[in-house]
């Protein structure tokens, strides 16, 4: 499997004129798991949205490079097609759009069916979509692995989903879109221990299958008992203040975030 590199270089980001990220540096290779831990309000989610290209987040300085190529000028869909995935903390509901139709459209876009049909001028009704039969089978297999019921596919995207269902649906999307790099933004929040285990197993399996580069963003160490990081970074006031191995997690577990204030100041 090819190796890829996602590099964040001196990244400064402002939201509505206020600087939130103040020079983030981080390099992730495929196959690696990085944990980014920090207290609430430290800018962790800003980093994840910025990576994915949310229009509200303005990059004022620095670079985001995928295999040396800048992602900054790209829209979120273009980034997705380059192999970036963000499992969101609060996936929004889209009423009236079934999970199945959404997944089929997304997979078709990311795997190039949509673009190919457009280029070829193929205007048959479903030419822009992945063939239904093969896709249905693939979805059913992934559903089974995540212990999700098929009936799920007929429900409207994230509408009325429980916390655990939403997070599983995010992992299902990741499984089908097969990204190179995935950011898991507070994926453990709102999950009970059984759901957390299923989600974590899914992530670990996908990492092995796809040689994913993972950035696990979390406030608590709990998820890191299941998804074991190679590297741990501590995030505070818009930048990484300390990096180390898995042992850093234990320090945070024992001491909380309070010591940071003294150390950084």
């Amino acid at each position: 499997m090819a190796d890829h590199t996602l590099e964040i270089r001196d990244l400064h980001v402002a939201v509505e004129g206020k600087e939130i990220l103040k020079g983030v540096n981080l390099t992730i290779h495929t196959g690696e798991t990085h944990a980014l831990m920090g207290p609430n309000g430290s800018g962790k989610s800003t980093l994840s949205y910025t990576l994915m290209g949310h229009p509200k987040y303005e990059v004022t300085q620095g670079e985001i490079l995928l295999d040396g190529e800048s992602l900054l000028g790209l829209s979120p869909d273009e980034r997705a097609r380059k192999g970036l995935f963000l499992a969101m903390q609060y996936p929004v509901a889209v009423p009236g759009v079934t999970l199945y139709n959404f997944l089929r459209s997304a997979v078709s876009a990311v795997r190039g069916y949509t673009e190919a049909a457009r280029k070829a001028g193929n205007n048959r009704l479903n030419a822009h979509l992945i063939p239904a039969r093969a896709f249905r089978q693939e979805v059913n297999e992934e559903l089974a692995k995540l212990k999700m019921d098929k009936a799920f596919l007929r429900r409207y995207l994230n509408e009325g989903f429980s916390g655990g269902e939403k997070k599983r649906a995010e992992i299902l999307q990741m499984a089908l879109l097969k990204p190179k790099f995935a950011v898991l933004d507070e994926t453990d929040s709102g999950l009970d221990i059984d759901a957390l285990r299923i989600v974590a197993e899914g992530v670990n399996r996908l990492q092995a299958e796809l040689n994913l580069g993972l950035l696990v963003i979390t406030h608590y160490q709990r998820i890191l008992n299941y998804i074991v990081p190679d590297f741990v970074h501590i995030f505070y006031e818009g930048r990484i203040v300390q990096s180390g191995g898995a042992s850093l997690v234990e320090k945070l577990e024992a001491e909380g975030y309070a010591w940071l204030e003294a150390e950084v100041a």
């Binding site: 829209s75 759009v97 959404f102 990311v110 949509t114 205007n123 409207y156």
Partner: protein, 467 residues
């Protein structure tokens, strides 16, 4: 029947196609008694039908233009032909059809044969073979499903008894116009206690007149019966005749159920001014499923008159107003009897400088104790210039009645857009998905082939509106 099978049958039917000649008859432009008389004579109508038409013409000339709703001031009645013979319509060639329409056919993947028909080039895409096999099936149960001209010839008493009874000649200026010049449309009669399993589609009975300017449709569903009638199609229909005023009259007898589904996608040169109304007797149920995608100007308010105890009426409608389109559409529910109930659900989308107004009337007469009415209208605006208005008229003369009204106006939600785009969907495709989601409560009521085409159509519309 699967859509593909239908296409196959229609392709076959194309080879069976025989041209009727010497059927042409020239009628001059504009309105006048001479034209009404000529039209009636050509059709070989009985005197009572001619009398009905003449009375309607007189009424039309006397009635003022409506001064509310859309702007009709540029409508010149003298500029139109009021009766077009099939042969004259055939004379139009494929080359006359605008490129934009041809391109849309191409992109929707409409089969060749159907394209010409939809463009109004082919007078008859006559699916006789499809129609006649289904017809046999219906006739076993005594169901009548014919075009209105045939009905006047073969079932004069039934027509005479019902025409103008739900929508009187003087109901509105355009109903009067239709009554004077009607041509084409369907006549349906379902005898008591018959459940018609397959929807009756005007599609099967296709000839140019059924899509014509002045269709007149009468549907009678006798006691305890059940029927679903489908008219129109999602694909764009090009018409050189710029004035369309249909009248649809439906009689839902005791304990009967009728659903009328229609989708119009006329080209934007068309004025579409339609009167659709159903009278529902005791414990009957009427549902209007009404989609408006095309035309430049539309005025249309499907109505249910709930006449018998526990009668129920529903109107579910969508309107998608794009560039230079102005829809004033809605619904009416008139409660005349106790325990009647109605649900009006309207979804409108406005794009570019498109304008979509919802006009809804709920009237509950004194004596309609326990009547319940619910009106929900949701508008989605795709850009800042688009406009949506809501005009609810609620008139309750009975103390023991309940009326609910909800209205929302929204725009495409930025967080939804970001979420979908982060999964690889382009902005246009993501917007189309959101719009299709908005329309889902309507789309899920449609037969499969219509639903698929409608979703695709929305997607095509969105490609032009984003980026």
């Amino acid at each position: 029947m699967a859509h593909d099978d239908l296409h196959k049958l229609k392709d076959q039917a194309q080879y069976d196609f025989t041209t009727e000649v010497d059927y042409a008859h020239t009628v001059r432009r504009g309105l006048g008694e001479d034209i009404v008389r000529e039209l009636s004579a050509v059709k070989g109508e009985p005197p009572w039908m001619l009398a009905f038409r003449l009375k309607a013409l007189e009424t039309f000339l006397r009635m003022p233009m409506p001064t509310w709703g859309v702007d009709l001031s540029s409508l010149r009645f003298d500029e139109f032909y009021y009766y077009m013979k099939p042969v004259e319509q055939e004379a139009r060639s494929w080359d006359d059809v605008p490129d934009s329409i041809k391109e849309t056919f191409e992109r929707l993947g409409i089969p060749e044969a159907e394209r010409k028909f939809l463009a109004g080039v082919e007078a008859q895409l006559d699916s006789e073979s499809v129609y006649s096999s289904l017809k046999e099936e219906w006739e076993k149960y005594g169901v009548i499903f014919v075009d209105m001209d045939t009905a006047v010839r073969e079932y004069p008493d039934l027509v005479r008894e019902h025409i103008g009874k739900v929508v009187p000649i003087a109901d509105n200026k355009f109903a009067a116009l239709n009554s004077a010049f009607w041509s084409g449309g369907s006549f349906v009669y379902v005898p008591p206690h018959v459940h018609v399993e397959i929807p009756l589609q005007a599609y099967f009975r296709i000839n140019a007149q059924s899509l014509g300017q002045f269709e007149r449709t009468i549907i009678i569903v006798d006691e305890g019966s059940d029927v679903h009638y489908i008219e129109g199609c999602t694909a764009p229909q090009y018409s050189t005749a710029a004035l369309h005023t249909g009248v649809i009259e439906i009689f839902v007898k005791r304990g009967a159920h009728a659903r009328y589904t229609t989708i119009q996608n006329w080209s934007t040169n068309v004025y579409n001014l339609v009167t659709q109304r159903a009278v529902v007797e005791e414990e009957g149920r009427m549902e209007w499923v009404d989609g408006n995608l095309g035309s430049g100007v539309t005025m249309k308010y499907p109505a249910v008159v709930l006449k018998g105890r526990k009668a129920h009426g529903e109107v579910l409608s969508i309107a998608f107003a794009g560039q230079d389109q102005y829809f004033d559409a809605g619904a009416k529910a008139i409660h005349l009897a106790p325990e009647t109930s109605s649900v009006i659900t309207s979804k409108s989308i406005s794009k570019a400088n498109g304008r979509s107004a919802f006009r809804g009337l709920v009237r509950i007469n004194r004596g309609a104790q326990g009547a319940q009415a619910k009106v929900v209208c949701d508008a989605l605006l795709l850009n800042p210039q688009a406009r949506s208005d809501t005009y609810p008229y609620i008139n309750v003369a009975e103390d023991e009645a309940q009326v609910e009204h909800e209205a929302t106006v929204s725009r495409i939600n930025e967080e939804q857009l970001f979420y979908l785009m982060s999964r690889g969907l382009s902005e246009a495709d993501a917007s189309a998905l959101i719009v299709n989601g908005f329309l889902e409560p309507f789309v899920k009521e449609l037969p499969m082939e219509y639903a698929v085409e409608l979703n695709r159509l929305v997607q095509l519309q969105m490609e032009g509106s984003v980026g």
